[in-house]
């Protein structure tokens, strides 16, 4: 059946079973390959997207439950040519080794900074706790989120 929802600011309609995973619909129906399949069991965080601004595991989320809602993926942040301040901060800190976990981490970081523009180190750690990185890039990732927070605060009218 047809399911309508907003993806990265655009109204989309997909013909998929309601029980199909949001991840499969994003990747195979909408061609948005930035959201990644890691474990498929809500254990690694590679597939994190925002549903109405809140982090959600796309691997187990049934697409029927996002009907009428707003979904944001890493493609909705920015592009390689015009990166979002978060993406730019990850590049500035070179916060990535293999990079497979990054798009999910970026989405959780986005949700954090949207609700808390000036998080402490502990709050960043807590927000990213559900994400695994097996390369060991954790310290750079934390610095990148803090750098992005500072950039976004500076750009904001006082």
């Amino acid at each position: 059946m047809d399911i309508a929802f907003t993806v990265n600011g655009e109204a989309r309609q997909v013909g998929a079973p309601e029980t199909a995973s949001l991840l499969e619909v994003l990747r195979n129906h909408l061609g948005l390959m930035g959201t990644r399949y890691g474990c498929g069991l809500e254990q690694c965080g590679c597939c994190m997207v925002l549903v109405d601004g809140q982090p959600a595991y796309a691997c187990t989320r049934e697409v029927g439950t996002v009907a009428g809602r707003t979904v944001t993926t890493v493609e909705g942040l920015g592009t390689a040519d015009k990166p979002h301040p978060l993406q730019q901060a990850f590049l500035d800190e070179q916060a990535g080794q293999c990079g497979y976990c990054l798009s999910g981490i970026l989405m959780s970081a986005k949700a954090l900074l949207d609700r808390n523009p000036d998080p402490s180190r502990g709050e960043v750690v807590e927000a990213l706790d559900k994400h695994l990185c097996r390369c060991g890039t954790h310290q750079r990732i934390l610095r990148a989120v803090e750098r992005a927070a500072a950039t976004l605060r500076d750009g904001r009218p006082a």
């Binding site: 990747r27 293999c98 798009s103």
Partner: protein
Amino acid sequence: MSAPALPASLVENPRLDRWIRFQPDRTVRIATGKVEIGQGVVTAIGQIAADELDLPLDRVTVLSGDTTHGPDELYTTSSLSVEVSGGSVRLVCAEVRAKALERAALRLNCSRDELSVVDGQFLQNGEATGQDYWTVAPEIDLTQAVTGTVPAKPAASYKVVGRSVPRIDLPAKVSGAAFVHDFAPENLLHARTLRQPSRGATLAALDEAAIRRAAKGELQIVREANFVAFVSPVESVAQAAAAAAPLHATWDNVRRIDPEQQEAAWLKGQPAEDRRIGAAPSTTPPKRLVQITVSRPYIAHASMAPSCALAEFRDGHLTVWSHGQGMHPLRKNLAAVLGLPTEAITARHLHGASVGVSPKRRDSTE
């Protein structure tokens, strides 16, 4: 004077054109058999080439893991990539730079010593000459074998090496499609395999009808001895089949592993052959001796992502895109498994997830 010993990669791949190519868009393509697994090697090799050729880094592109155009450097392992592949690229670039300067000197009817290289252009006593790598490239025979006799630059003259430059592969990885998993051409068929419960297990029975019911869609089941794959144009159908399959498979010769076997005590109780690694300890008694016994359980070199490969069989030629760590060995293995001549197979590397702490991955040869 005898030639210096060449790195193994150059002994196996002596032709210069296996390593370097001047492109019409005024870039230089360097090829390496080593692949990116999160360690930054592709960027590092680009840095080495840029310095040796006097080019800015953005005029260097790096082709990594390509059986058609690149060198065979076996696997990307053991932290050897910069030493072996980087060392090879350095010697190749030094030699090609010398050949290019020789040609330019002939054209300009001057001495080589009057020439310098800036951004790939040849200057004569500091003045522009209109000559550069790309104007003389057609006159350089890159089918020749590397000799290794042209000395590389002294480390003190490096401008790009030793500087921290941004990884060239990261922008794609923070913004969208970047991995082998993300390339989905038209008419793609998805496949998932049935895992053996243990090495050596043999498949006694498989209830294909039950698996088809669970898959709920167009499904092809491929069986070859103990190998089973579920193939469908719809990824979720192949996934559902593979998820249900273990319940409907009966195996013989399954080896059960006792949880005790992961304890250090069990391991120490097994027959062993003791060998010393490194020098014998000094016989002088230490001032203070600290003894400690340390053990840890087995750790899986498990990757963050599922293993993934893409294959296209067209007009008798198989092209495989893989995140494995050695494309030439993969091609050889595929030829043996599929009964195809090696020349009928192309293997190309695309990025995958790594375990970072060690390039030794469970999926390295899959």
